[in-house]
Symmetry: C2
């Protein structure tokens, strides 16, 4: 009897061990399956393997500024692995701009680049040049790969364009709608090759293209330490692209389905005059006192 | 010996059954845990329980049309459970508008509502009224709950506003930036209550507000079968809001943190003239032939 009991006990002990082993083994299998499932999901949704995009957006204080940054920001928010370089022509940053950028939620750096005094007094001011050169300096100092693009805050961009420009090897180009009396500024593509430019104003430019019409590889820029944008109104794009030499027309990649689609538009927003002053006495104790602090009087 | 073997066989058979039972039981437990995990995730990400939003956007054929719809669309794409009613002042739909709406990927209906002939010949045309009344007719015929909002295609909207207006019980209001010489059109809030309106042009209106400054509950509209927007330039908002009577000032919900934030702007886009004709002979065989078909000549 003793022997029998012992045997039974040993059998029960062995069984429990086996049951536990199977339970633990099954648990391990499902944990591994789940972990694999999660890891593939992460790659799918964040797409961390894509080359980074640097979006250089010049801006300046005016009544429309916060609105423009808001709607551009919501477009950029659809694009992964993107850093938004918002660069203001000002001597100090604006808390309102910081608030808006935080609210939008696109990864950003907010930098300053005041226009040099000698250009500020001119009738036709080279707006945005100082800002864009500041953006180039940031990229030279901080980036090693990926692509950069000059995206003004009042233009319109189709999200698919960002995914196309992301893989630019040297310089890529595409059509921009609503530019000059031709209604579009575009590379001319004949037999699959770049064959000149279509734009309502050529003005002796080698590259008669719009600022929204090209992107450049970071590696390519780093190999051209002297590339810069000139402070010459109307020749900003041309001067910058010329400074990227050597650059042959065959090196220019033609995006937007070989330049047959319009995925960017040079929209311009009507300027608003400064708002009249709020009667602080009459409206004291109302919400208008708080609202008044948000109005940008340039 | 035979008895022994039999005993062993029976023990083995029992053990296998038990092992299998434990394996299956463990599998079932993890499947249940995983299903529960997935079901809670779905609720988190799609938020299907939110009331639906109906966005009524009047539009018309012009060079900027596709750009405007693109950038508004990318803002709306951040908002869940939203139906975009794009309503064009035209007698036939445009394949280019269909293409753009499909490309953006926001759920939409593209409807037509030509302006009646008697208004088309006037110097100051009541633009968008026919479109908005078509939107109201759609809602009366198809919606039972949620909220609707008139969102012109050239304005700018902060996404958080849509989440606030979604819970409107009757009519909600908030400030709109860049309207008239006051720089903002806003309800005046004193001691937490609506105490009049601040706008550069009052013009005898009971509700001197901008089209972008209010949203209305669908249920509330359905209880007012005669509510409609009048074809009177400058009095579209006032006329529509008056037609929602009975509506007391106490019924109006004050959003955007009691009207102390600007989350909408009445941005206006500069109009472009029609593009000059493309020289089809000179540019035959190039990409410009395809691009030319995309240009909107109004």
């Amino acid at each position: 009897m003793k022997g029998n009991i012992n045997n039974n006990n040993m059998g029960l002990g062995k069984s429990i061990k086996m049951y536990l082993t199977i339970f633990v083994a099954t648990t391990c299998i499902y944990m591994l399956i789940y972990q694999y499932h999660m890891s593939t999901q992460e790659i799918d949704s964040n797409e961390v393997i894509k080359p980074p995009l640097y979006i250089i957006t010049p801006t300046y204080r005016r009544p429309e500024q916060l609105a423009e940054l808001t709607r551009l920001g919501y477009t950029l928010k659809h694009v992964t692995n993107l850093l938004w370089l918002v660069i203001e022509d000002a001597n100090e940053t604006s808390p309102l701009v910081f608030d808006i950028l935080d609210r939008i939620g696109v990864p950003y750096h907010y930098l300053l680049a005041p226009m040099p005094a000698q250009y500020r007094i001119k009738r036709f001011k080279p707006r945005g040049v100082s800002n864009r050169n500041r953006g180039l300096a940031y990229i030279r100092a901080n980036a090693t790969e990926g692509v950069f693009y000059f995206a003004d805050d009042d233009n319109t961009y189709d999200v698919s364009l960002f995914e196309q420009m992301r893989y630019t090897k040297m310089v890529s180009m595409w059509p921009v709608g609503l530019v000059t009396n031709t209604g579009v500024s575009s590379p001319i593509v004949r037999d699959g090759k770049l064959n000149g430019f279509y734009d309502g104003w050529i003005g002796g430019r080698k590259y008669p293209v719009d600022m929204a019409g090209f992107a450049v590889s970071v590696k390519f820029l780093l190999q051209r330490p002297n590339a810069t944008m000139p402070f010459v109104v109307g020749y900003e794009e041309d001067g910058f692209l010329r400074s990227l030499k050597p650059l042959s027309n065959d090196d220019i990649e033609l995006l937007a389905n070989k330049c047959t689609e319009i995925l960017t538009w040079h929209t311009q927003t009507k300027k608003n005059p400064s708002a009249i002053a709020l009667n602080q006495t009459r409206y004291g104790g109302t919400n208008l006192i708080a609202i008044d602090k948000l109005l940008v009087r340039s």
